[in-house]
């Protein structure tokens, strides 16, 4: 079989091969298991790079398409339909990139039931990549729901003391949203007799009032996943209780599935409703930005703080997407990547200190920079990235988003972007507060004096992220180039709809 023909399938299902290998390995040979998992995910990453190499960045439509009939259900053809375009290519790469890093980060953190942990982790990767690559809504939904299961186990088995509560809450919240989406998907399938996203977009012609309902149904799923204010309450629990690698993937990739969903489905499928709802979505996004930032500051637990910061950051993403102009959407997509990198890194960082001290209360730390200079320096960079310091990745995304939202016709008022920009101030407050609580001040606790700086393995997990933090911050052009044409196409579609609305 020609490898290039089915490259997307390979990217998606390579981890399954790893799972199969893992199944037949003895469960007490932990290092062997870990190596197998890491290598598998590395191979998946390598394959995704092959995908990137084949990606034609001047082409706005789907590429490397694989389209096979899967099964037919009551006249509805359901397809195995994978494809990648500018909207998803970076997210796929982010997923395959973060997975090996997360697995490496668990090397010494997960000592129990290693085999199952790795299996679930690789399965999770399958689900996530599948979500980003599916072009058939039904297939998308399968992957979408499927990601719930391994994540549920990751939180529930290897999580913190309240893991069960958090896991169930995570599962129920996300499922609550997605079942509404399921109904909308069904409605689409019945009405248009197709689940193929490109076909549905091409067909168009969903009447306005119906668009409203469908938009809301899809939005319910995505908004919970993002999570948008006020649907965010599962997030702190899930994050705090999840094991480090779980948090990394949760923040790094899973949340992006929500924003990606808006991008892939809500905007092109229901353009008129998107235009109508843009101000409201922007409002919620802005509330989320401010609210998340305000709440983050009051936290005592580092992970809580980072979790709430995600609410704030993803508010930016949503704001950008619903600016419905190239600037906002491209910024939004890039910001998804940025958030994946910087928040992923932050969770890794929290995990490292937790592994050493078994506490995440910020009051238990202070002055760590003295004993852990490398750790401190890397944390500083990540912190700065997260608060959007120009020259680092976060800024590029945030700026594009804010600029896009500021001039957005759909949102209609620059006030939203103005308030969101104030969120930048608040980001500085809570991020610096965190940094201060952990690293600055006197080193006055005896337990902290003997803490060892991070080791080579841990540095190796962080450095790739930091490299991208700088790269995107200083030279994001290659990234924007990948996104650009597809976004332009989407915006053109939205503009056509905008003419129709007015």
């Amino acid at each position: 079989m020609n490898l290039s023909f089915s490259i997307l399938s390979w990217v998606t299902f390579t981890p399954v091969l790893g799972v199969l290998v893992l199944l037949f390995l003895p469960k007490d040979r932990r290092n062997l298991l870990r190596w197998v998992a890491v290598l598998t995910s590395m191979v998946a990453f390598g394959l995704s790079l092959v995908m990137l190499a084949q990606f034609d960045q001047t082409n706005a439509s789907l590429q490397m398409v694989e389209r096979l009939p899967w099964f037919q259900l009551a006249g509805m053809q359901i397809e195995y339909f994978l494809g990648v375009d500018g909207l998803s290519v970076l997210l796929v790469l982010l997923t395959t990139f973060l997975t090996p890093i997360s697995i490496i980060s668990t090397w010494s953190a997960v000592e129990e039931r290693v085999k199952e942990f790795l299996i679930f982790f690789l399965l999770l990767e399958v689900g996530m990549v599948g979500v980003f690559l599916s072009q058939d809504i039904f297939l998308f939904y399968i992957f979408w729901e499927f990601t719930l299961v391994p994540m549920y186990f990751l939180i529930g088995i290897w999580g913190g003391p309240r893991r069960v509560y958090a896991a169930i809450k995570f599962f129920l919240y996300t499922m609550a949203g997605s079942i509404l989406m399921l109904l909308a998907i069904l409605w689409l399938g019945i009405t248009f007799e197709s689940f193929s996203v490109p076909d549905l977009i091409a067909q168009g012609g969903i009447p306005g009032s119906v668009q409203t309902w469908l938009f809301l149904a899809f939005a319910a799923a995505f908004a919970i996943k993002v999570p948008m204010w006020p649907l965010h309450s599962w997030l702190p629990d899930a994050h705090v209780e999840a094991p480090t690698a779980g948090s990394v993937i949760l923040a790094g990739v899973l949340l992006k599935m929500g924003t990606y969903g808006f991008l892939r489905f809500n905007l092109p499928l229901f353009p008129e409703a998107s235009i109508r709802f843009a101000p409201w979505m922007a409002l919620l996004a802005v509330i989320g930005i401010i609210y998340g930032a305000a709440v983050a500051y009051a936290q005592k637990d580092v992970k809580m703080l980072v979790a709430y910061s995600s609410v704030s950051h993803l508010g930016f993403v949503v704001l950008g997407l619903f600016a419905l102009n190239p600037l906002g959407i491209q910024g939004g997509i890039l910001q998804m990547i940025n958030h994946g990198l910087s928040t992923g890194a932050l969770f890794l960082i929290v995990g490292m200190i937790y592994e050493r001290r078994h506490t995440r209360e910020m009051d238990d730390f202070g002055g760590l920079w003295k004993v852990m200079p490398i750790y401190g320096a890397l944390t500083l960079i990540v912190t700065l990235s997260s608060m959007g310091l120009p020259g680092l990745n976060g800024f590029v995304g945030e700026f594009s988003i804010l600029l896009g939202a500021f001039g957005s016709e759909a949102i209609g008022s620059p006030i939203y972007a103005g308030i969101a920009a104030a969120g930048v101030i608040m980001a500085a407050i809570y991020m610096l507060y965190m940094f201060q609580k952990l690293f600055l001040g006197p080193l006055d606790k005896d337990e902290n004096k003997v803490v060892k700086d991070i080791n080579l393995r841990e540095i190796l997990t962080l450095v790739p992220l930091v490299v991208f933090i700088f790269w995107i911050g200083l030279y994001p052009k290659p990234f924007f180039n990948l996104i650009g044409p597809s976004v332009d196409k989407l915006v053109a579609l939205l503009q056509a709809a905008s003419v129709a609305v007015h």
């Binding site: 037919q72 009551a74 939904y141 729901e145 499922m175 069904l186």
Partner: protein, 483 residues
């Protein structure tokens, strides 16, 4: 009446006849080797399967319309026979463990199966009634199989009294329908209703009382209250069989009567079935939450699933949707059968000889002790919740499709919201298995394991590739009466 007529009821004849023969054979089989009886029963089932398959695709009426052979009946018969195979495999070790192994178990099981087979191809209300009784009476006895254990007694008594009570409604309903249409043949009823020679009110309340009777069989709210008690008290292998078989049998009759014989009255029964479906889903799922005994929990779960399947009825009231609604119901029945049998299989593996090991807490630590078994159980729970990529999701998807197609969006909403609620208690089983520590004692027995493996594989396989099953359902030309 010719030899073709006999071919039409051949599966029934094989199973019932084989049961009767076995009854005699069993006398010669020593008490400690009843496995032979089980094996022989299996042979009979296989022969019946062959019989069903051999006449697959044939559509005809036999015995003056008493018997209908069509895709619907063949498909369901295959399902019943498959369920029967698994039920025998599940019972074998369990009966020994509980020290209630008797040859009659398998014989009664075959008789009950024969009732189900008859139900699938019933073309007359008289046959429906007899089939209901034929499938129920052996079940009453099977539920009492562990007598003098108190739970078994209580289960059997409740099941029997309420079953007979419901039969009263069924018979009276049939009588009224007969009075209204002048016939009990389903085809005759269609004709009578079409020619407006009916008394609508009689027809309505007659069908209403039939609904009560069959609603009892499938455990629809508010006729469901026996379910948890009976499921809990009956020997688990019986529960497993009856939770799938009896329910599928009831639905076979419901679908046959309401969709193919009474479409003319759809306006009337549509809202009613809709409410029953909604109530059943809600009640079953909500009540399941507070259960601590896994058998009761699964009992409520089976009530809830009856609610889901019930949705096919109101959906089928829209004529264009009817074929798909029936197919969806059939698909869901398969889904439910595979998943539920699997789940009960795990319960069987967990149950100790003295009948303990049945609380959900007893599953603590199963994930560590028996990862494969726990994984299978997790798969079943997820499938019952309706999470992809399991067959349970496909089933729900198909059903919701029909419901939405019939424009019953609010009903679909109830469906999804209640399946969300169901996630809560299904997940709890997973939580207990994986996230709590414990030292569960588990049986590991080849036959039982193979059923669990088989169902788990089916749960997963049809979740990924439902196309095979769907194709099969599509191929069976449905309900010739519908045309």
């Amino acid at each position: 009446m010719d030899w073709q007529d006999f071919l039409s009821v051949l599966p029934f004849i094989i199973v019932a006849g084989w049961a009767t023969i076995l009854l005699l054979v069993d006398l010669w089989i020593p008490a400690n080797r009843k496995g032979i009886t089980a094996g022989l029963a299996v042979l009979g089932l296989i022969a019946a399967i062959a019989a069903v398959i051999s006449r697959f695709g044939i559509e005809r009426e036999a015995f003056d319309g008493m018997i209908i052979v069509d895709g619907f009946s063949s498909f369901l018969q295959l399902l019943f026979l498959g369920v029967g195979l698994i039920a025998i495999a599940q019972a074998y070790d369990y009966l020994r463990r509980r020290d209630i192994e008797r040859g009659e178990y398998y014989i009664l099981l075959l008789y009950s199966l024969s009732g189900m087979l008859l139900m699938a191809s019933a073309g007359d209300l008289i046959v429906v009634f007899l089939a209901v009784e034929l499938l129920s009476i052996p079940l009453y006895v099977l539920a009492a199989f562990a007598i003098p254990q108190a739970d078994s007694e209580e289960s059997a008594l409740k099941y029997f009294l309420l079953g007979a009570f419901a039969s009263g409604f069924l018979v009276y309903g049939i009588a009224l329908v007969y009075g209204s249409t002048g016939t009990t043949a389903l085809s005759g009823m269609v004709a009578a209703i079409a020619s407006a020679e009916t008394t609508p009110v009689l027809l309505f309340i007659g069908s209403g009382m039939i609904l009560v009777g069959l609603g009892f069989k499938v455990a629809a709210v508010p006729f469901h209250m026996w379910t948890p008690d009976v499921y809990q008290g009956a020997p688990t292998s019986v529960t497993s069989f009856m939770s799938v078989g009896a329910k599928a049998g009831g639905f076979a009759a419901l679908l046959r009567i309401f969709i193919s014989a009474l479409p003319g009255a759809a306006v009337m029964w549509m809202p009613l079935t809709m409410w029953i479906a909604a109530l059943t889903m809600a009640w079953g799922n909500i009540a399941a939450i507070s259960q601590t005994n896994i058998k009761r929990m699964l009992a409520y779960s089976s009530i809830a699933h009856a609610g889901y399947i019930f949705m096919a009825l109101p959906a089928a009231a829209t004529p264009e949707v009817a074929p798909e609604a029936v197919r969806a119901a059939l698909f869901y029945l398969v889904t439910y059968a595979i998943t539920n049998l699997g789940a009960w299989g795990v319960v069987l593996a967990m149950e100790k000889a003295e009948g303990s090991g049945l609380t959900i807490e007893d599953y603590s630590g199963l994930g560590k002790k028996r990862p494969a078994l726990a994984l299978a159980m997790a798969l079943f729970m997820l499938s019952l919740t309706g999470v992809p990529p399991t067959v349970g999701f496909m089933g729900k998807f198909y059903l919701f499709r029909a419901v939405i197609d019939a424009n019953l969006i609010w009903l679909a909403l109830v469906g999804v919201v209640t399946s969300l609620i169901s996630a809560y208690y299904y997940l709890r089983v997973i939580v207990v298995m994986y996230m709590r520590d414990g030292e569960p004692e588990v049986r590991s027995e080849a036959l039982l394991n193979s059923t669990i493996i088989l169902t788990a594989f089916g749960t997963f396989f049809f979740g990924i590739l439902p196309g095979l099953l769907i194709k099969m359902i599509n191929q069976v030309g449905l309900l010739d009466l519908l045309r």
